[in-house]
Amino acid sequence: MNDYAIELSGVCKSYRFFDLQNIALRLNCGTIMGLIGPNGAGKSTTIRILMGLVYPDRGEVRVLGHCIPDAQVAAKWDIGFASDDMRLYDSMTLGWHINFLKSIYSSWDDAYAHLLLKRFGLNAEQKIKGLSHGQRVKAALLLVFARRPKLLMLDEPTTGLDPVARHEILRELTSVMAEEGRSVLFSSQNTQDIEQISDQITFIDRGRIIDSVDKELYLDRWRRLRLEVPDGIQLPTLPGVIGIRQTGRLAVAIANAFEPHLPNAYENSGARVHAVENMTLEEIFVANVEHSREEVKA
């Protein structure tokens, strides 16, 4: 049995104005990975490569133990894929879509599909063109969830949803994950969603993976230190601190590898530490992207 639902190594893909560079990524079976990145970072390209819809120029891709793109058909039997640019057939009903997929997937769970219809407040008799955006997203996810796939690949599925609909989707995703061995790759720009459901976080920016780590460990590593710097005191450069913003006597230091001795080190240099704060994933995301871009420039 393969331990990884997804394995990418040395994957490169070049377009005229964008390069996906040396992507290496592993998703353990039974975990949820949140893929975070700004617009144009390479999230969708990565997921399309995993689905065999885009062929990489170099590198190796394995999904559920199958080589992609060559064995994409075998892999796709066990993959549920949805993206924000995916639409259903406007002129047909949701019930027609359900029957269409039922005729393809022997794993189709009719009872679960009916349960989801109720939970999402959808009507199988309604044509897709009569559904709101939120209902369309829910309908698409119903069609994915009821296949009972081993791996879910969701490319920004919550984009454009109101908070209630987003909450419903995320709750369902969490309950889907309760089934043993199911893995999820979930891309989003919404860090709140990722923070809520992910076990593993991967940051991607300008075609490069910046970080791919366990969420809890990651959140624990980042801290913001609010400092007061008396006149004439120069803040030292400390390992684990990726940036300092100073305005007059007040400074903010961002640490991406926080150690308990860091505040003492600043105190010893003559500065006063007013607060050591945890950071939200969104703050970490922005700080990480900015830091990574500065590193690339340097």
Binding site: G52, L53, R87, L88
Partner: protein
């Protein structure tokens, strides 16, 4: 045993495009019925509308069945299914061809019946009618191949424009360069001269060539969405 996804996609296309097929057959049938009124004007009107109904189907089917999958963003839904891009291409090619062949064959057979069974036109027009009926078929193949390979509405429209403009040129070339065709079309017997047979064989070869090139180009694609 896993179900045949290509077959499911073909059936899905037939279900979604049934209106175009029915509309084409109905339009062609009305055009052929006009021929029954006899007289030069109804025959000319009926014959022109007969070809228009086939051309309508040849232009519309590739657009609604292939271009719209991308334009209306239903392609990611299809590609989430256990299917590769080359099998998707094969499914689209088979479904679009099948859907065109139904009205095309129905109307061609009906037209032959009008000539042979109802004597609306002399039997000498049969070779001309078949050669002319093959033109929209070739045009359909070109439009379908272009749309499937280029995957853009712009290219599809360009293919439609080129194909539709070229009918008159081909018609002119046939009339002016194939004397056996014009010499015999008023006769009581269909004459299968070597020229006519050669034209039919070339038309058949063009269809096969377009099909092969389309499948080859589709299998070489590295970026599908």
């Amino acid at each position: 045993m896993k179900p045949n996804v290509v077959l499911r996609l073909i059936l899905k296309d037939w279900r979604l495009q049934r209106r175009v097929i029915i509309l084409s057959i109905a339009a062609g049938a009305i055009a052929l019925a006009t021929l029954l009124m006899r007289g030069q004007t109804p025959v000319v009107i009926g014959a022109v509308f007969f070809f228009i109904s086939i051309i309508f189907c040849a232009c519309l089917l590739p657009i609604t069945n292939i271009v719209n999958e991308r334009k209306k963003q239903t392609l990611p839904f299809l590609m989430s299914l256990p299917i590769s891009s080359s099998r998707y291409g094969a499914a689209k090619l088979l479904s679009t061809f099948g859907m065109f062949l139904v009205p095309w064959l129905t109307l061609v057979v009906a037209a032959l019946y009008m000539i042979v069974g109802r004597h609306i036109l002399p039997n000498g027009t049969i070779p001309t009618m078949l050669i002319l009926a093959n033109l929209p078929f070739i045009g359909f193949c070109l439009i379908t191949g272009t749309t499937l390979v280029a995957e853009s509405e712009g290219w599809a429209n360009a293919a439609v424009a080129v194909v539709n403009s070229s009918y008159w040129l081909v018609w002119y070339l046939l009339v002016s360069h194939v004397p056996s065709l014009t010499r015999n079309w008023a006769g009581p017997v269909a004459v299968w001269s070597p020229e006519v047979v050669r034209i039919l064989v070339v038309q058949f070869a063009i269809v096969l060539l377009i099909l092969a090139l389309t499948l080859y180009a589709q299998s070489r694609k590295r970026n599908f969405i």
